[in-house]
Amino acid sequence: MIKAVMVMNTQGKTRLAKFYEYLPVEKQQELIRGVFAVLCSRAENVSNFIDAESIFGPDSRLVYKHFATLYFVFVFDSSENELAVLDLIQVFVETLDRCFKNVCELDVVFNYSKVHTILDEMIFGGQVVETSSSEIMKAVEEISKLEAASNAITLIPKSASGWRSR
């Protein structure tokens, strides 16, 4: 079971946070800070694991990957395989890359909804349901079309809401 997915930049600003069990926002913030405190102290070219039990309690593991200015962090329990989750991070980033054409931090910043949609296509309630980035892309495009279509039937065309969902 995947417990949480976080994306944060090297300054510690959260760019994406997804917890698969309900947590109050204060607790979320505390956990993310805890993770970042460990992450930023780690050198390059070391292993992609950190001890998560001190932050998330027993039976939790954490892998992360560092791309450019972003850390991608997945927290999970013993029913997932560490290396497989690392691959999953790769899939996630690849999908973002396909979706935004050379993804950078700004894409993640400005496409809040879309990034969540992509993640939701991959992980459903803490379980991985899709690992192929082309399948994810297909679904995400379908969803975007649906959103656009449902907005197009608006009686009053609105400049603002047209931009919203990209």
């Binding site: 070219n45 070391v46 290396l83 379980q127």
Partner: protein, 938 residues
């Protein structure tokens, strides 16, 4: 649409505007967020759903990334959810899954929305609502929506079906009765050809099996088939996870899965799958020697890989193996030990754990030595990691691996001198604990304690205060083993003790009290020994009268090694002259006088005790030293009585106290323990309990600084940190050189008293790794050489308490409602096997009989409420009885069972659905004690 709402929506800032605003704001992020929140609160009240949904989206954003509370938007989220538009729904579902939880008041209002969307023809709408359900479902939602989820489990859209499968996990967890409805369809999906659906089902089963593996044993054939057939690494990994839970429960299953797992291990190219195979073998199939060998070989590849991740995981796997197969570690020990100096902290810690796993009583001293040297040169975090693991390994099970306690105590002393050491409290505990438990180590303990106490540099390091308090206690309690109590006295009263926190200072003063009493007692006893009337009981035999009058200057040389043993006690024979006693008494008065005004009651009280004692004894001692020495016996009687009294009081040995000691005290007559003290609370209610143990009314340091200006050393700037210790030290030594041991006496202490951070042992660090490799190699040679000449001293153990807290807790049979329900479904419905309808026909005749047997439990299970442990246990009894009835003869049972198992294994190795059906046709001849297995073989 009304005008204002149109205006609102026209000029409403979108999420993108919000993000841009956040990035460009000039008023500060927090201020901007509060301003936006104000806007959102207004917008969210709008009657226009577009405006509302945009506001909701912005709020979700602020909640998700800026941790703002969004609970106020629960109802608006429901309103947006009711919109027919997909984009609105999506926003609403997102907001709901972010913010709803079990105690959200409007939670139940969502049921109908969810139901509507679950029945939608649009797969993405269904997906959204399933996603939401997987996140927020509670008992009611799970119960009410079970029929919809059940329907979706056989949806022809795999996109929907895999999500329905995944949501089942949450539904089962919240509402176990849904198992009766959904479980069969879930199992049917194990046969699904679509890898994504299959992956989801296997994922669900691996989660379920984690919690209660036994219930899923009957599905083993299905999982086995997937394991053999799967080409998808994700699925294989999950199936391996399931088998690693199931295999320990059923040896025959373990035997069967070993081969396919080994095949996977040999053939797979994916590291993740390979690692999962390794982990499964080392955790659950560790009895199979050849599989473990193969796995350890693969671990070795991991260890030698460049990728730090693989190395780390390899070390982790090795640690799991080490529990049962230590050879695996020793085969790889070079890598393990080299990893101690890896750049990656994870790898370092993992290899440290492995090294500690190799420790035995034969190599503990060598490994510790090398590790301590590693600790000296590593960064603070890892240093303490090393020290902590040495401490915990050595103290495990009451120091069972320690033979030479003298060595261990001096190691403790050495460890506390390491610059980064922060394990002071643990070292303190062990020093005291060993002192209490191991009688033979006390002389060495006192020596180590003295070395610690006498070093003024250590006082500046607050992490060491714990160690020092332990050392002070030990030196006071066991002062009779001290070679030179006077020197201890000096150390305990040295001016820099003002750096200690008051509680520890109090311990110092108490220790000084004990030492003083001992000095005086020895002195008086010696005096008496010459008088013919004195009793000879407590006399240190080696002390002659003349010794006490030797010149003060050369005692250290003369008597250093002169330790006499009287009545089984090692007794110090340093000459305690009248002069030195007087000196000491003066010093006590000077050092403690100022503490009479200490703000800390502990310190104050103990200082007062000690000074009171000095007041009582001093006049007579002075008196007798000024006048004739021999004929003042009569006058001295009184003070010597006091001294004897005190000495007797202190010489009563303290022992470790059993945790249950209190319970063993019989209740005295007339003491009513059960009386209700509730009334007291009313009386005491107003009185605030003290927040800490010590009552401190101001900065203790300040006070003590004042005090010290009177001290005999006249050092005023004592509040400075330890880096100035050297000059202080020199001053101290210059004045009190007499009380320092000469350098020739003990090799442990160099003449210069290096500050705590100085390491004398740094020289041999470089070839540590090689040393350690050699050592561990030696240690693993089975033939043991007795390295220690002397036998292991007795370690005091208290009967039941000190025994290692045995894991008495049986893994309680999880009769919780979920597993109960699963069992009911699996066992109760075995007459309708999930496999295929054909088998129904072929087995129908037999099944009739079975149905009969199961009528009772079956109907009962339908009637009885879920989660009723009583009824479920009754059910199981019924089942096993039914089974027993089926056995032809209980005596033949065992042999037949074995035969059967063999046969089945042969058959099953050819694999396939068909075979399992064949097995099903065989009559059941399996022992009743494992009620689950027979069903699995059906």
């Amino acid at each position: 649409m009304s005008g204002p709402s149109l205006m609102d929506s026209l000029f409403q800032p979108s999420l993108e505007d919000l993000i841009k605003g956040l990035r460009q704001q000039l008023i500060g992020e927090q201020a901007f967020i509060s301003k936006s929140l104000e806007e959102i609160r207004k917008e969210i009240k709008s009657t226009d759903l577009s405006t509302k949904s945009t506001a909701l989206l912005k709020l979700s954003y602020l909640s998700n990334l800026h941790f703002q509370d969004m609970s106020f938007a629960a109802f608006p989220a429901l309103e947006v959810l009711s919109s027919p538009r997909f984009s609105h729904k999506k926003i609403a579902y997102h907001a709901i899954s972010l913010s709803f939880h079990d105690s959200t008041p409007v939670l139940l209002l969502i049921t109908n929305h969810l139901r509507k969307d679950l029945n939608s023809t649009n797969e993405f709408e269904v997906s959204l609502s399933l996603q939401c359900l997987s996140r927020i479902a509670n008992v009611d939602l799970a119960r009410d929506l079970t029929p919809e989820v059940f329907a979706l489990l056989s949806s022809n859209k795999f996109y929907v079906r895999k999500r329905a499968v995944a949501v089942v996990l949450r539904v089962f967890e919240k509402y176990p009765d849904s198992v009766r409805v959904c479980f069969k369809r879930l199992v049917e999906n194990l046969e699904n050809s679509d890898p994504q659906v299959l992956s989801a089902v296997v994922g669900v089963f691996s989660e379920l099996a984690c919690k209660d593996p036994r219930s899923y044993l009957p599905l083993a054939p299905e999982f086995y088939k997937i394991l053999v057939d799967s080409k998808n690494n994700w699925i294989s990994i999950k199936v391996l996870k399931i088998f690693s839970k199931l295999a320990p429960l059923e040896p025959r299953l373990a035997k069967r899965v070993v081969e396919p797992i080994c095949d996977l291990m040999r053939n797979t190219g994916a590291k993740s799958l390979l690692f999962e195979c390794i982990r499964t073998v080392v955790t659950s199939l560790s009895e199979n020697e050849s599989a473990v060998r193969l796995a350890v070989g693969k671990v070795r590849e991991f260890l030698e890989d460049e990728d730090p991740n693989l190395k780390y995981l390899g070390l982790q796997a090795l640690r799991i193996v080490a529990e049962k197969h230590l050879w695996a570690v020793s085969e790889n020990k070079e890598v393990v030990i080299k990893s101690l100096s890896d750049a990656d902290p994870n790898i370092k810690i993992e290899s440290l754990r492995l090294v500690m796993a190799m420790v035995s009583e034969h190599n503990v001293s060598e490994i510790s030595r090398v590790l301590v040297n590693y600790a000296i040169k590593s960064d603070p975090v890892f240093c303490n990691e090393i020290l902590g693991s040495i401490l915990s390994t050595c103290s495990r099970n009451l120091y069972e691996i320690i033979v030479d306690f003298d060595w261990y105590v001096s190691l403790l002393g050495e460890m506390s001198r390491i610059a980064h050491c922060q394990m002071g409290d643990e070292i303190e505990n062990q020093l005291i604990d060993i002192g209490l438990r191991v009688k033979d180590v006390r002389p060495e303990l006192v020596r180590v304690a003295r070395d610690l106490l006498i070093d003024p540099a250590l006082l500046g390091n607050s992490f060491l205060h714990g160690v020092l308090s332990g050392a002070a206690w030990a030196s006071g309690e066991y002062v009779e083993f001290s070679r030179n109590p006077l020197e201890l006295m000096e150390a305990l009263l040295q001016p820099r003790t003002s750096l200690l926190p008051p509680p520890i200072r109090a311990i110092y003063i108490q220790a000084a009290f004990k030492v003083l009493v001992f000095c005086l007692h020895t002195c008086f006893m010696r005096g008496k020994s010459i008088a013919p009337s004195a009793s000879l009981d407590n006399l240190p035999a080696g002390v002659s009268a003349s010794a006490s009058y030797e010149s003060f200057d050369d005692f250290s040389v003369e008597n250093g090694a002169d330790v006499a043993v009287v009545h089984g006690q090692t007794c110090a024979s340093a000459p305690i002259t009248k002069e030195s006693i007087v000196n000491i008494l003066n010093m006590v008065e000077l050092a403690l006088g100022p503490l009479l005004g200490s703000h800390d009651v502990e310190v104050q009280e103990r200082a007062r005790n000690l000074l009171g004692f000095v007041d009582l004894t001093k006049p007579e001692i002075l008196n007798s030293s000024i006048h004739e020495k021999r004929d003042s016996e009569g006058k001295r009687v009184e003070s010597s009585k006091i001294i004897k009294l005190m000495h007797d009081a202190f010489s009563k040995e303290l022992g470790p106290v059993s945790l249950s000691a209190q319970g063993k005290v019989s209740l005295p007559d007339g003491l009513v323990l059960k009386e209700n003290l509730g009334d007291l609370e009313m009386i005491c209610g107003d009185i605030e309990p003290p927040s800490s143990n010590s009552f401190s009314f101001g900065s203790p340091y300040e006070e003590e600084k004042d005090g010290l200006s009177f001290s005999n050393l006249q050092i005023r700037d004592d509040n400075e940190q330890s880096n100035e210790s050297t000059s202080l030290l020199a001053a101290h030594r210059k004045r009190h050189g007499l009380y320092y041991l000469s350098s020739g006496k003990s090799e442990m202490i160099s003449n210069d008293y290096p500050p705590a951070s100085d390491h004398t042992l740094q020289g041999d660090i470089n070839d540590n790794a090689d040393d350690l490799v050699k050592l561990t190699a030696e240690s693993l040679i089975p033939k043991r050489k007795p390295k220690h000449g002397k036998p292991r001293p007795v370690v005091v153990k208290l009967d039941e308490v000190d025994e290692k807290p045995v894991a008495m807790k049986q893994p309680e049979s999880r009769d919780d409602s979920l597993s109960g329900a699963v069992r009911d479904v699996l066992f109760g419905s075995e007459d309708i096997p999930p496999t295929s309808s054909q088998s129904n026909l072929s087995n129908s005749s037999k099944r009739k009989g079975k149905e009969k047997q199961h009528t009772d439990p079956h109907t009962e299970s339908k009637v009885s409420a879920v989660g009723d442990g009583n009824s479920s246990s009754r059910r199981r009894k019924d089942r096993s009885q039914g089974k027993e009835r089926r056995h032809r003869s209980p005596r033949k049972k065992n042999d037949e069972e074995r035969k059967d198992a063999d046969q089945k294994e042969k058959k099953k190795s050819s694999g396939g659905r068909h075979k399992s059906r064949q097995r099903a046709e065989e009559p059941l001849k399996v022992p009743a004690q494992t009620p689950v297995i027979p069903d699995f073989l059906l």
